[in-house]
Point group: C2
Chain length 379, copies 2
DNA sequence: GTTTGCTCCGAAACCGGTTTCGGCAACGAA
DNA sequence: TTCGTTGCCGAAACCGGTTTCGGAGCAAAC
């Protein structure tokens, strides 16, 4: 006879098999004839366990396929063995064909340390900090990868104040006097690429070389512009402010800048672009003006998106290895969460030139080019 | 005086602030003057808590910003409030510009239920099951989204045996007698799209309409082919086996199929493609053969990748809303983990036609087209 | 006035690990 | 021999929640 009505949940939940076949620490300890505290410490590399015991424990743990539940560990340690990344979903240039490669690199690196990767997306700049805050507060990750770093990046200030480990994909604080010793990052040296692009074009005989940058709020955009300026100087060319454009985040905005450049009294014979999208935006403009890319106008891009090889003519560009970037960022971040100094966890890599047919020696002088353009436009 | 040497870890770990400012269940209970068991049950909707108390608990919990640690809950409940997705990193057509949108949809849906999304990647078909197994065993997720479902999908068998909730992006078991009642899925009806494509082309006056499919191991490829066949039948056209190609996973493979089609004695005047990539692969082939796309040959794609609008002429295609797909999949999956019947969690949506300039009324008969092609090739 | 039954809540066990603390044995020095 | 170390391990507390179980209080029924 039942006297007490058992309370029940409102929403009934089918009872899942709760980690059915798993080997637990208790069982492992039983089999080894040790206490679970000893087994735990053996597995975690404490120094008060004899070498022979440790070996024995490790061997049977491996044989029995024991894997600790990360959330069971987390409750005591506070560490969940996971890294997180929050992705923008509002930027106009958010379509990133490399996201999959990047994630593959990051996940693979995480996996080898038995970590996992959790991702989230943010709908706006403000939402970004909210999402980060939620992940931090609920302790969903031990560290963060911050992609698309801005010159003055709110996420950096936020996470630094919270003392949560993070790593930048890119650098930040352009031109700041504060050296920011305590931030780790991985980056591809875009400035080296754009400098090399200018050098390459100068060698081909170009004298008027333009630059189309991306949104200047992003640090990479300024760095690539710096590289461009550096390249000009190295080639002994003078900088013409008219030829330095910025803010082209999309194909369309790239097209707008290209149009403005080509309508100059003395148009450039070559354009270095901070992104492939901007470079591809130049294509229809050139076609429209009757200019042959690679001869009348040379174009060099940056990123190495797949589309570069399918346009006509193929776009010469600097290709970024996204997979490796993800892999490096994840490993460096994990090392940071394990206590290594952020300042020592920095790496700079290079993009590799993929030469195609969109650049070559100039066929016309800027003046002749201007005449040709005027002619076409009048008709 | 210290007599016992304190043992220490091998690798020193900087002590992180362990969830410093968080409000814990204990504190909340103290403030409310209740026991923590009562508070817990109030928040989890147990029926043995009075309504007034529940309201009071919920109100202060919200006011104090209390959020339970999901890994602390998980240790007892076995549920981590997370869904996972494992992505291929080995397929040749892995570059998915929509991954970001898809993830945005899925993450947003997860967030609204206070869930998170963990992702991982697999390097090979075999690795896929290993990765899934690890995630299941370590209980990193309560359910899985399986993208790119194959006709006979190993992941389905694997997870079904383990009784782990999952949902398909796509359907599976093409032509199987087993109805597979117990599987939930979300899909876009590709067959409707290809059928509509054929109908559209037939209305424009085409009689010889070809089809270029993707890898037949994927269920969607067969379904889209079925839609094509259905469309032919509806238009009263007879099916010519020569015009039904399959296996084009990349642009290059699409190009190969297009070339084979156009070299037929009686070439098609229109091509329906299972993917935009295959359709874009047809472009250079047509150019090479001197055929004007949209007049000599009509082409219709499927997917709606951004590039469609930038090629010349713009590619008519059926556009898939990846963001919505991610959103639906995540919500349905979460509902499934809460106990709803998988069979009731199915949704079929439609792709939307984006008409551009790559299709139009046929300018030549197949015979005239063949003559034109022969002429160009001979020169 | 009991008994019964129901509503609502608290004490305590529990989940699967980690970490603290103390104790036992062995060993070297006094 | 005795004492202080040292090496190695077990008992128990602990992390932050969830769930079980029992019981107090009260109203209705007998």
């Amino acid at each position: 006879m039942m006297t007490n009505p058992r309370p029940q949940k409102r929403q009934s939940s089918l009872r899942q098999t709760p980690a059915s076949g798993r080997v637990k620490l208790d069982q492992l300890a039983d089999i080894l004839g040790l206490s679970k505290s000893t087994v735990s410490r053996a597995l975690n590399g404490y120094s008060d366990i004899s070498d022979t015991t440790r070996k024995r424990v490790e061997a049977t743990a491996r044989k029995m396929g024991y894997r600790p539940l990360s959330h069971a560990q987390a409750i005591r340690t506070g560490r969940v063995r996971a890294i997180a990344m929050v992705i923008n979903s509002w930027e106009p240039d958010r379509n990133n064909p490399f996201l999959q490669d990047f994630l593959a690199g990051a996940c693979e690196a995480a996996s080898t340390s038995d970590w996992t990767m959790t991702i989230s997306t943010a709908k706006s700049e403000k939402d970004m900090l909210d999402v980060l805050g939620r992940l931090v507060e609920e302790r969903k990750a031990d560290g963060f990868i911050l992609p698309r770093t801005e010159v003055d990046d709110a996420r950096v200030h936020y996470l630094r104040d919270l003392k949560v480990p993070f790593i930048l994909y890119g650098r930040t604080g352009y031109g700041e006097t504060d050296p920011q010793d305590d931030i780790s990052w991985f980056d591809i040296s875009g400035e080296t690429a754009t400098e090399n692009a200018v050098t390459r074009l100068a060698h081909l005989g170009h004298h008027r070389i333009a630059y189309i940058g991306s949104d200047p709020k992003f640090n990479y955009s300024r760095l690539r512009r710096d590289g461009y300026l550096q390249g000009l100087q190295a080639a002994g060319l003078t900088m013409d402010p008219d030829l330095v454009r910025e803010g082209a985040r999309t194909r369309e905005e790239g097209a707008a800048e290209a149009r403005a450049l080509m309508q100059l009294p003395s148009p450039p014979t070559a354009i270095v672009c901070a992104t492939d999208l901007a470079a591809l935006g130049c294509y229809p403009v050139c076609t429209e003006l009757g200019l042959e890319i690679g001869h009348d106008v040379s174009i060099v891009g940056y990123d190495g998106i797949p589309e570069c090889q399918y346009v006509n003519p193929g776009l010469t560009t600097f290709s970024v290895d996204s997979r490796r970037a993800g892999e490096r960022l994840a490993t460096l971040l994990i090392r940071q969460t394990r206590g290594e100094e952020p300042a020592t966890l920095r790496e700079l890599s290079n993009a590799v030139l993929i030469a195609r047919e969109s650049d070559g020696p100039p066929r016309l002088t800027p003046e002749a080019l201007a005449r040709k353009i005027n002619l076409i436009q009048r008709s």
